[in-house]
Symmetry: C2
């Protein structure tokens, strides 16, 4: 399904006039980095539009609606690919989606930085090709710009809070945590696809977009807390990776919660063992403290409280069909991967 | 003059709600990377607009025109800052504008990649703040998108043609060279400021933009050939840096020209000595071949031919006032820095 988008981008006048080596490189960048995600974000555009059109599901959309949602969905996937390529360099990561991170591929290296810029540029080529005459074209451009800025701001907070190799537990507060995850994850993961669906569906009320933002931000926070929980307590064979947040010195939900509850002895164990990469003894010591505190139950309580809060936010608003958020919430509630 | 723009960006709702550490970081990113360039590109917006308005010079513009040109000028400087931050990492450079490259500053490192994204995002915040109601708003967004894509494409060609540490002279042809410099330099250095001035000046004809593009691309090519010439033959105290293109394995105008003219012995000297970083003996050997071939005269001939070609392109078109391009050309013809 990505092939059509890929070919459209390779046929772009800016690329098609380049020497063969340049065209081939662009193809590799796109094929390696874009199509292999879970595509949840991309698909949520069509789901949102289906609810707004009052049809059963995305498959029941008109051909033209489906096409539009498809293009915007891939634009979101391109935005994510752009951020992931850069994130993996900055986090010094090894694998992504079951393959080596792009910058680790032999002849790529730091050229990956520029490849990220090409991925981002591709978004605006697609938007221009397909929506230049759409009455909401400027709004589409603006929502991608805004979400890019928000995500980069969240990345900044994440990077300066927990620099690689420097552990400072005093920075790991719930306030900082919430700020980081809302900005680095929630806007692009939840708000962007819903907003894209709303723009296609002809929603005009500013209040409706504000409401969507409020609910999506809360949902994104919950989603990231789950991600942090699964990093430690999920089954590696289910989540598809072995969690490394403790070793990687991440400002995650579990450590923030633990520091809130810790007695002096527990705090010392965390201080001594957190942020030691590839040290399974240190990692086990931190996990033992988490277990002592029964953070699993804390998480379950959080999960139920979040669900109720989200339900009430969804049910009390009158700006948008409840179905838009129902589907999103159903997909993530008590997820195990 | 940048202070107002900097403060506007720091007051942006996305930044102003962040913890103090985040706001301080953003301020550092802006202050370190944006204001210290030559600002030629930014200033060309006002110069173009002044010609279109028929006034003496930029200072004679109305307050509101001057403000608009000022904002767009800084947007171009932000775009350049974004590309330079990334370029310095990819080229493994040491200094930029007389200070260490941003990624070399102690606590920055690879976080610079994300800082580049913040610089780019800042462009679209300014455009939204100042031009959301402008009738050419969508065109402004599109020209920044397109030029970003073109520049990243030029960077891609540059990077894959001469990867650090791998010398392959067969790739250094004049065709490749021209392609690289047009894409990586000409569009953002010449076309973007002229197009911004035209958008503010109310120019609507597509043909006029095409004409501007054609002339600006030719001018950008000439400008980059000069840059390559000065890297080898310019006075370091005048150009403000010591040229490193030979050691850095750059696909530059001189080496392309030399390879076209070289006999077997000369070709071998180049092959043996090109692309050896920090090796002044090797560099001197290559320069000796350049002198043997009298590339200085070749360059002078090229310079005069380019000038005549540009003059004729400027004088024969009837889409735009000649003055727009006269000023640009006068600024760069026979420049020594
Ligand atoms: Mg990461
Ligand atoms: Mg990260
Ligand atoms: Mg995680
Ligand atoms: Mg460079
Ligand atoms: Mg470079
Ligand atoms: Mg140079």
């Amino acid at each position: 399904a990505f092939d059509g988008i890929r070919d459209e981008l390779l046929a772009d006048p800016v690329i098609a006039v380049q020497p063969a080596t340049g065209q081939t490189w662009m193809k590799r960048v796109l094929d390696y980095n874009v199509p292999f995600g879970k595509l949840n974000r991309g698909m949520a555009v069509a789901d949102t539009l289906a609810v707004l059109r009052g049809v059963e599901d995305a498959n029941a959309l008109s051909k033209s609606d489906l096409k539009d949602a498809h293009v915007l969905g891939w634009c979101i996937e391109l935005l994510q690919a752009f951020f992931l390529v850069a994130d993996d360099i900055m986090d010094d990561s090894v694998t992504r989606r079951g393959q080596p991170c792009w910058f680790r591929v032999e002849d790529v290296g730091m050229v990956a930085i520029n490849d990220g810029i090409l991925l981002e540029s591709a978004i605006y080529r697609l938007l221009k090709n397909h929506f230049a005459k759409h009455r909401r074209y400027a709004d589409m451009l603006e929502v991608f710009h805004e979400v890019t800025f928000q995500t980069a701001t969240g990345q900044m907070l994440d990077l300066i809070t927990a620099p690689i190799g420097k552990v400072d537990l005093s920075k790991y507060t719930m306030e900082t945590y919430t700020n980081i995850v809302v900005y680095k994850t929630a806007f692009y993961t939840f708000y962007l696809p819903v907003a894209c669906g709303m723009l296609l569906g002809g929603v005009r009320s500013t209040k409706a977009y504000d409401t969507a933002k409020e609910i999506c931000v809360a949902m994104g926070e919950y989603f990231q807390v789950q991600d942090d929980f699964l990093d430690c307590y999920g089954a590696p064979e289910v989540i598809g990776k072995i969690g490394t947040d403790i070793g990687d010195n991440k400002c995650g939900w579990l450590v923030c919660k633990a520091l809130l509850k810790a007695n002096d002895a527990q705090r010392e164990v965390i201080a001594k063992n957190y942020g030691k990469p590839h040290d399974s003894v240190a990692e086990a010591a931190v996990k033992a403290v988490y277990n002592e505190m029964d953070l699993k139950s804390e998480f379950e309580a959080y999960e139920n409280k979040s669900y109720e809060m989200l339900r009430s936010m969804i049910d009390t608003q009158k700006d948008l069909p409840v179905g838009i958020f129902d589907e999103l919430l159903a997909k993530i509630f008590k997820r195990s991967k």
